[in-house]
Symmetry: C2
Subunit: 405 residues, 2 copies
Amino acid sequence: MRILLVGAGGVGSAVVSIAARRHFFEHMVVADSQQGRAARAVAAADDPRFSAIALDASDRAQVEAALREHRCDVLFNAVDPRFTMPLFEAALAVGAHYLDMAMSLSRPHPREPYRRPGVKLGDEQFALDGEWRAKGRLALVGMGVEPGLADVFARYAADHLFSRIDEVGVRDGSNLVVEGYDFAPTFSIWTTIEECLNPPVVWEDGEWRTTEPFSEPEVFDFPAGIGPVECVNVEHEEVLLVPRWIPARRVTFKYGLGQEFIGVLKTLHKLGLDSAEKIRVGGAEVAPRDLVAASLPDPATLGDRMHGKTCAGTWVKGTGKDGRPREVYLYHVVDNAWSMREYGAQAVVWQTAIHPVVALELVASGVWKGEGVLGPEAFDAVPFLDLLQEYGSPWDIRETPRQAA
Amino acid sequence: MRILLVGAGGVGSAVVSIAARRHFFEHMVVADSQQGRAARAVAAADDPRFSAIALDASDRAQVEAALREHRCDVLFNAVDPRFTMPLFEAALAVGAHYLDMAMSLSRPHPREPYRRPGVKLGDEQFALDGEWRAKGRLALVGMGVEPGLADVFARYAADHLFSRIDEVGVRDGSNLVVEGYDFAPTFSIWTTIEECLNPPVVWEDGEWRTTEPFSEPEVFDFPAGIGPVECVNVEHEEVLLVPRWIPARRVTFKYGLGQEFIGVLKTLHKLGLDSAEKIRVGGAEVAPRDLVAASLPDPATLGDRMHGKTCAGTWVKGTGKDGRPREVYLYHVVDNAWSMREYGAQAVVWQTAIHPVVALELVASGVWKGEGVLGPEAFDAVPFLDLLQEYGSPWDIRETPRQAA
């Protein structure tokens, strides 16, 4: 397998350091709009299987040329979702497999944005499913941690723990703290704004509906000492992916943003600073959201100042194999001190990066195979969870005790 | 009198429409970095005494050339305070009189920003007082509404209402509402950020000290149906000007921002979006504060969507001429519906624009004369307040009833 990794930001760099310990691929070309950033990621790996190039991810022709020139049979998209479609289409055109961690962007319903979805996350990708099948190539979409591992957990629960699923509720929370900043998000603020301010989507009784941002707040008690965190509905790929493969009455995604972060996002929205459309500022043209991201510290560089743990997981409620009510939370925790020591990557970024590498190894070995546009839940979860364990990153199940009758 | 008005934004345009009704000047050259904006203000006046030019207010040589070319004997600065020093120095070099509504900017104390002032508002201007005196020219600084009218009120109180002043407390509040926007400030957000996020300054017992932003909240009951508004300490010129001419134990400025606005400003600060220093965003260099201003609607254009009143005034406590305790609030209210109907200018902008025009008329007629760098309180308040009345814009006094013994 020869991989074109597009994006050497936090996640891309962590992908390099994780993949460097594995033998399933022949070569990985690390591409970034800033060649120096790609070169630094490659230099850190110190492994001849990696090389660095400059690449503009928005330029489909340039991406196709890079895939051909470096004879890559997989495009691994590790840039933000603005670039999903040109990369996805470039891979399809060249006949490479494709993997991403964030799907094509949504557009709200023009009249009822907070009741009905418009163009949904991934719709533009699923529209090309037939072409991927016709070419016999796999587009594995939403294969990070959330979406990604969260979907694998849902599939595992459906196959091995439940006879009927009432709700699949992805829940994400942390007790990470960044020292020395008034405000410092631990994940891409561009993506966080995108997912938090778009109308959240919920799957319920056979259809998708949307709500107001930050709806249905709930306090979820996270494991591993993180404890209770206030979570709210957020637009996320799992809600669009899980129902395509797993029968569930309801699918939700709630993010443990906390009150301060919610307040910041609401204010950015109120002032129009969440907008990704360019505006004129003096002689320049700048998108407010890009400026917000540029004004905050790069989350990938904050690992040394962070402490705490981050937890991603899937809370499943329904009827167990024994016909009795069951409720479990399947989860994966990363301690920032551990990921910094072992991989030099902060916890959130590292947790996003490991799962696509595991998935690519399963594709390379032929354990996971498929054609068309497929989510992680389209594949057998067991080999994934076993290989994740082998990578040294355990997952766990918390069983909610049954109430005494 | 030939006037070079620099700045044809909201306040500058309102200056043109107010001055057009008066006869004290021979010609007013309206200058703006966007010549079209200056031309629109001049076209609206439809009066041959006005002409429009393009001018970069940051380019001192260009400003000097414009003063000479158009034989202006007064430079009227109506741009934001970043440009105060080049304009002030250009007027001094050419030998023109000078008037502004916002003084040279402060810089916080390097070690104890929230206890002691560093470079104070106006310090750079007062440092050149000797040169202005030597040239026999007047620099009338802080001559808008606040500072400006508020300082005139303080002088009036000192001369005519009090034998001893305990506190001069400028208090600014409104019940203005802008329809159709989630968030729309009624005054320049650039300036509002500057004055609200700098350490507020207080004069007390013979010295200036600073506090944390938004300190000493108090609910002030504004007249004319506006009612109670929460006010907080804000850095403002009156606190630096009043004590130079009027003996008072304490001088404060509190702004009725309201909780929502305070929350927005705190969030902007937390995210570094208040910064006036340029940062790199993609290929561009942009100051976050400039982008925030560009992303919000221009307050000068909101008059049609606004309703309500704005109040500027000076609350004075001390001992009356009769030796008994006295407490008064001298104030000036503008109803947005009135200023829009009469002048096509929204209330806050119009209220800022009228007072410097009144002051220039007093200078032109020789009623106000002086040399050096002087604040509004250096002059007799009575002719100013009389002329303001003649302009059709009344002021008033609210006397706090004495407590029964």
